[in-house]
């Protein structure tokens, strides 16, 4: 047993398996969070029926998808139709292997980690274009063409923005990028006297475009293309595309957090007196507040149904338990690092949902204009300006 645990592949493989096992559940709950948040933006309640405040809705949705009929149109290319969503999911899930959750807790840290993630996301385009082509239907083909042109366009801007980050960090390894931010005493988003913030904004915009989210969700523009490349997909096949979309949001959020927001580092990692307030008190307060809200909701639910109130209370207790874990000195360094990483990724996801609730969709020519005529030249300028400032600072 000891030999197994000490094997160098034990930690990577365990982390990898845990990620893949947990991911569908996490994605399902992100969908619930998104529906709840959008509902809140539009002054609605969102899902309320399944479980207390819709807490069991994701599980019901997953079951429904699993039991749905598996329809393949007669004209479709069966092999590719089968294969395309698998490519999308596969690339998105594999990119997880490169994300550094904490200094130790990651699947691998290779010296070109960032490049591998970018490569995986580039392969992901194939899943969309093959899916749209295989369906042999007009809407999916148009959706797939648009989508691949969009992804490909914004990938240039994304790559240039990432280059700015790499330039400041001086490494392509995800772990070393975070360590460089500890050494340079600044999150890379604020490096080079604020010049890096331009790169960060470009990254944000193209990240949203890369994940096909509104305002850039032209591939599935419902009003004109039904559902874009996904039109012919139903049941779990469609579910896989959905899964891939949320996986790529988390991955791109993880990349952004690692590169620009200091990864697992707490804010102001070099100010030592902030250690206790930010690593213990803040997470504790965060989870206890969530628990408190759950308990209050559960008391209100008691009037309607006992089991719903119980479930809500159990959720609250679980949240409080997670919060109390931060008081344990044994697990503390890993736990607070993990908390900060996930907290920042959560902030990114919240931001993406917020954008979705705020902006209307772009027209296609506007989309391509933003990508090529504004972001690419701006990103080029940012690369050169940051290189110049970096050189001047180095000499």
């Amino acid at each position: 047993m000891q030999a197994i645990i000490e094997h160098p592949w034990f930690l990577p493989l365990t982390v990898g398996i845990v990620i893949i096992a947990l991911f569908p559940l996490v994605a399902a709950y992100i969908v619930l969070a998104e529906r709840k948040l959008l509902a809140d933006f539009q002054v609605r309640l969102g899902p309320m029926r399944v479980g207390p405040h819709g807490l069991l809705q994701p599980i019901a949705d997953a079951l429904k998808l699993l039991l749905k009929e598996d329809v393949i149109p007669a004209a479709a290319d069966r092999g590719l139709f089968w294969f395309a969503p698998v490519i999308s999911t596969w690339t998105a899930l594999t990119a997880f292997a490169l994300l550094p959750f904490t200094e130790q807790l990651h699947v691998v840290d290779v010296n070109v980690g960032l490049l591998v993630i970018v490569a995986m996301s580039a392969v992901g385009v194939l899943g969309i274009i093959i899916g749209g082509w295989a369906a042999n239907s007009h809407y999916p083909l148009l959706g797939a063409l648009r989508s691949s042109a969009q992804l490909v366009s914004y990938e240039v801007a994304l790559g240039l923005a990432l280059i700015c980050g790499v330039m400041s960090a001086g490494s392509l390894s995800m772990v070393e990028i975070v360590q460089a931010q500890l050494e340079r005493r600044v999150w890379l988003a604020f490096d080079n006297y604020g010049l890096m913030f331009i790169a960060f904004i470009i990254f944000l915009i193209s990240a949203i475009a890369e994940t096909n989210r509104l305002p850039f969700d032209l591939p599935e523009a419902e009003s004109e293309l039904v559902a874009g490349f996904m039109t012919e997909y139903s049941g779990l096949r469609w579910g896989l595309y959905f899964l891939a979309e949320y996986a790529s949001i988390i991955v791109i959020g993880g990349v952004g957090v690692t590169l620009f927001w200091g990864g697992w580092l707490r804010p102001f990692p070099n100010v030592s007196w902030l250690e206790v307030p930010l690593n213990v008190v803040f997470p504790l307060a965060f989870f206890l507040l969530a628990a408190l809200i759950s308990f209050r909701l559960s008391r209100r639910l008691l009037r309607f149904s006992r089991w719903r109130a119980l479930l809500m209370a159990a959720t609250g207790a679980a949240l409080a338990g997670v919060g109390l874990l931060f008081l344990l000195p044994v697990a503390h360094p890993t736990l607070s690092a993990l908390f900060w990483f996930l907290f920042k990724v959560g902030l990114f996801i919240y931001f993406v949902i917020w954008i979705r609730g705020t902006f209307p969709r772009f027209r296609y020519d506007q989309l391509m204009d933003i990508g090529w005529k504004y972001l690419v030249p701006l990103a080029m300028a940012a690369v050169l300006a940051n290189a110049l400032v970096g050189m001047l600072r180095a000499t």
């Binding site: 039991l67 004209a75 698998v86 899930l93 594999t94 392509l172 180095a394």
Partner: protein, 138 residues
Amino acid sequence: MPVTYQELYFPVLVQAAIAVAVAGGMILGAYLIGRRVRNPIKDLPYECGMEPVGNARERFSVHFYLVAMVFLLFDVEVVFLFPWVVVFRELGWYGFLVMFLFVDLVLWGFYYVWKKGVLDWAAVRRAVEPALAGREAA
């Protein structure tokens, strides 16, 4: 610690294999569990209830090819930049100058592509509209 590349990337390979297995398994599971009732109408491609006209695999706008080609150029540029930015401090001003010239050349190409209208998606309509108007008049 793992030393060789094979050892370093092995967990990535395993993760990729598990990911494919999970994704494929989910589809297979749905295929086995779900009820299947087929009929010719249901197997038609979706066309808002109309019978689809012709094959979907028609020709499409040449713009998509052009964008793909421009992307290829720029992606190669980005790939060239990646190794430089990792070591640009060590390479010093000479490296900076050479890279600046390279980016400058690419930018001239970008300017050419821009002026040629490859990036104008609305211009396609502007070019087509007079022709359409002429046909309507006739």
